[in-house]
């Protein structure tokens, strides 16, 4: 099997850790601190666990009636004057956006953060067709200037130090490379983005929630950049995944109480903005995007991942993500949610991701909409094993151990000739002994003279 386009998260994570003594510890520390704030905010709400349950049920209800709610949303949004488009996949989404921009003669567009637009690789597509695309979210802009995808769905540049950012800005916008004060760096980008907002012919946003009963969609940001993009240029285009629907306005109360607390440990994002139809004198286009979602709905083990509200809490709590950095996942979505979403786009390419987890289960417990993330990671491993995507070393050794461990005579015969015992002991230490990854950073357990079984035979039989 050709491994050329298979993502190797373990390898990339190792590079992130070994790179220096600064990046990985900082990354871990920031995300851990975010989790601490999340825990404190959640603890302040007596009904927290009840809210999670309600949110989960609202999403399950919506998804099991998704066709109905999409049609209602479309009808209500249209009634309010929005143009609603449907895109089967990323390519259609990009074509639709391009044709709207072209029809309006737009040459420059400013966008706020949208994971869906990342998923569709929209920016490179539009740029290849001559449209200038500017990211307005600071973290996204940093990543855009560095030619990298976001490494976290909420904090796109969380893997970078202030020094990295100062050097990047020095290269790209000509600021002082030695001034790495976050206030200064933020101000630089504010002043850099303002004229672009004013010059842009269109603003693009994503959508966190879409309300069927009113045709409203919501965007949550801290910077207010989505609001500028929606309120200044004459044209607003929003890309919304079909799973973002909720039935009623009152449902938003549940989700907004959970979203930012889970994401950042704050009661809300600074701006929770609701768009229902175009603004006075403006034009609004909504692109509803499938891109594999309707197919995922038919996967009994995995459709619950469609409940995701992209809060990123599972990433912040994930001990493996915190040490790996998001870029190690080589995909649009990283961390636990990425591990269960990415293989739905390309099973082979992302076949290693489900193994980049200790199955500790923290993601499942933190998820505000109660997605069984950890169980899904486990189930993806089964899918990968069935498809023959288990790493070769694992396949061979498990075939041998599977046989031996099912046959006690052989097992105990092996145990007896074991000298020292460690040579036969847990095969998970054994199967790759030539590389001895156990021993690179760890001592082996001390060798024992007598196994428990031998002791038992001598003392109790």
């Amino acid at each position: 099997m050709d491994n050329a386009n298979q993502v190797d998260p373990a390898k990339s994570a190792e590079l992130f850790i070994l790179h220096d003594q600064v990046h990985e510890p900082m990354h871990d520390r920031f995300l851990w601190a975010t989790m601490q704030r999340r825990d404190a905010e959640a603890a302040a709400i007596p009904e927290w666990e009840e809210l999670r349950e309600i949110a989960s049920k609202i999403k399950e209800h919506t998804l099991t009636h998704l066709d109905h709610y999409l049609e209602a949303f479309e009808a209500n949004a249209t009634k309010r004057g929005a143009h609603v488009h449907w895109a089967l996949d990323a390519a259609e989404h990009n074509e639709i956006v391009f044709s709207i921009l072209k029809d309006h003669g737009v040459e420059e567009m400013i966008k706020s953060k949208s994971m869906l637009q990342e998923e569709c690789q929209m920016t490179p597509f539009l740029q290849s067709r001559g449209i200038k695309v500017i990211e307005s979210d600071l973290g996204e802009r940093i990543q855009q200037l560095d030619g990298q995808p976001p490494s976290h769905i909420v904090f796109p540049a969380i893997h970078k130090t202030r020094k990295d950012v100062a050097e990047l800005f020095a290269r790209s916008v000509g600021t002082d490379p030695n001034n790495d004060d976050p206030h200064f760096l933020t101000e630089v980008m504010r002043n850099n983005a303002r004229p672009r907002f004013l010059a842009a012919g269109a603003g693009m946003t994503g959508g966190n929630f879409a309300v069927a009963e009113t045709g409203t969609f919501m965007v949550c940001t801290n910077e207010g950049n989505a609001d500028i993009g929606a309120s200044v240029p004459p044209l607003h285009i929003a890309s919304i995944g079909i799973e973002k629907l909720v039935p009623r306005v009152e449902d938003l109360g549940v989700f907004l109480r959970l979203l930012s607390r889970s994401a950042e440990g704050t009661p809300l994002t600074q701006y929770s903005s609701h768009f229902t139809g175009p603004r006075k004198g403006g034009e609004l286009h909504i692109v509803l995007v499938d891109n594999g979602r309707s197919r995922r709905l038919g996967m009994p083990d995995f459709w619950h991942s469609l409940k995701c509200i992209r809060c990123g809490a599972c990433m912040n709590t994930c001990p493996v993500y915190r040490r790996s950095g998001g870029l190690a996942y080589g995909a649009t979505y990283s961390g636990p949610i990425g591990v269960i979403l990415d293989p739905t786009f390309d099973e082979f390419k992302y076949s290693e991701l489900p193994f980049h987890s200790t199955l500790c289960g923290s993601c499942t417990d933190v998820c505000p909409v109660k997605i069984d993330i950890s169980d899904q990671i486990f189930k993806w491993r089964r899918v990968m094993a069935k498809k023959g995507y288990l790493p070769l070393a694992k396949r061979l050794s498990f075939a041998v151990s599977g046989h031996v461990l099912g046959h006690p005579e052989e097992y105990h015969a092996m145990e007896k000739v074991a000298e020292p015992a460690i040579d036969y002991a847990p095969h998970f230490l054994l199967y790759n002994r030539s590389l001895n990854p156990w021993g690179r950073d760890r001592e082996l357990p001390q060798i024992v003279k007598q196994t428990f079984r031998e002791w038992y035979l001598a003392n109790r039989s």
């Binding site: 066709d67 600071l138 976050p182 206030h183 609001d227 500028i228 109480r257």
Partner: protein, 206 residues
């Protein structure tokens, strides 16, 4: 306008074919009981955490003078409220680009939310939506009696079917995208000051 006329039917068809057989009911959202807490002080505490500030200005004159102390150098003050005249009336603005030079925007919020310190602003309050985000600084008048407890209460008050834009704004614009360091004034307003002031009964200034 879409060039992909059949996609809608394909998507809805795939959904209908794939929708999980086990249908789930929409759950009831209960009214959560909170201990009797003074809504105003809770609101103020949360607002402060979010980087905003609040002032009991008492009267319209108090509001004017507070405005002057907070923003002494402001050249363009664009007002959407009758209580404060400002240097530019938002009703006169024809295009949002005209707001690019606004130092201070002034608007009245319909209500605030104690749980979060957020205020609810709509297109009708702002007149021009961009006033909320292009102004370098924002001053928001709020009737202290118009503070609701939590976000559930808040959504019982909003009328999304009556406005094209509505925003729960919680403090000024912020980012933590450089080394997780909190910085205010990322893209939208650099500061947000709430003036507690019931709606005027006197004739509008100006």
């Amino acid at each position: 306008m879409s060039t992909f006329k059949f996609s809608r039917e394909v998507i809805l068809g795939t959904i209908r074919a794939n929708v999980p057989k086990q249908q789930v009911e929409h759950p009831q959202i209960p009214v959560f009981q909170h201990p009797d807490r003074p809504l105003k002080s809770e609101f103020e505490r949360r607002l402060q955490q979010a980087g905003g500030a609040s002032h009991d200005v008492g009267t319209m004159a108090g509001a004017e003078s507070k405005l002057m102390t907070l923003h002494p150098g402001a050249k363009v003050i664009c007002s959407a409220v009758p209580e404060i005249a400002g240097t530019r009336r938002v009703e006169k603005v024809r295009d949002p680009h005209e707001l690019a030079d606004v130092d201070v925007g002034i608007v009245r919020a319909r209500f605030g939310v104690a749980e979060t310190g957020a205020i609810w602003l709509t297109q009708e309050d702002l007149v021009v939506d961009a006033l909320a985000v292009l102004s370098q600084h924002l001053i928001v008048l709020l009737d202290p009696d118009q503070i609701v407890g939590d976000m559930h209460d808040a959504y019982r008050r909003v009328r999304l079917d009556e406005t094209s834009y509505g925003c729960f704004m919680m403090g000024p614009s912020a980012t933590a995208d450089v080394e997780a360091t909190l910085v205010h004034g990322a893209q939208g307003a650099r500061s947000l000051n709430i003036f507690f002031l019931p709606p005027h009964s006197a004739p509008p200034a100006n």
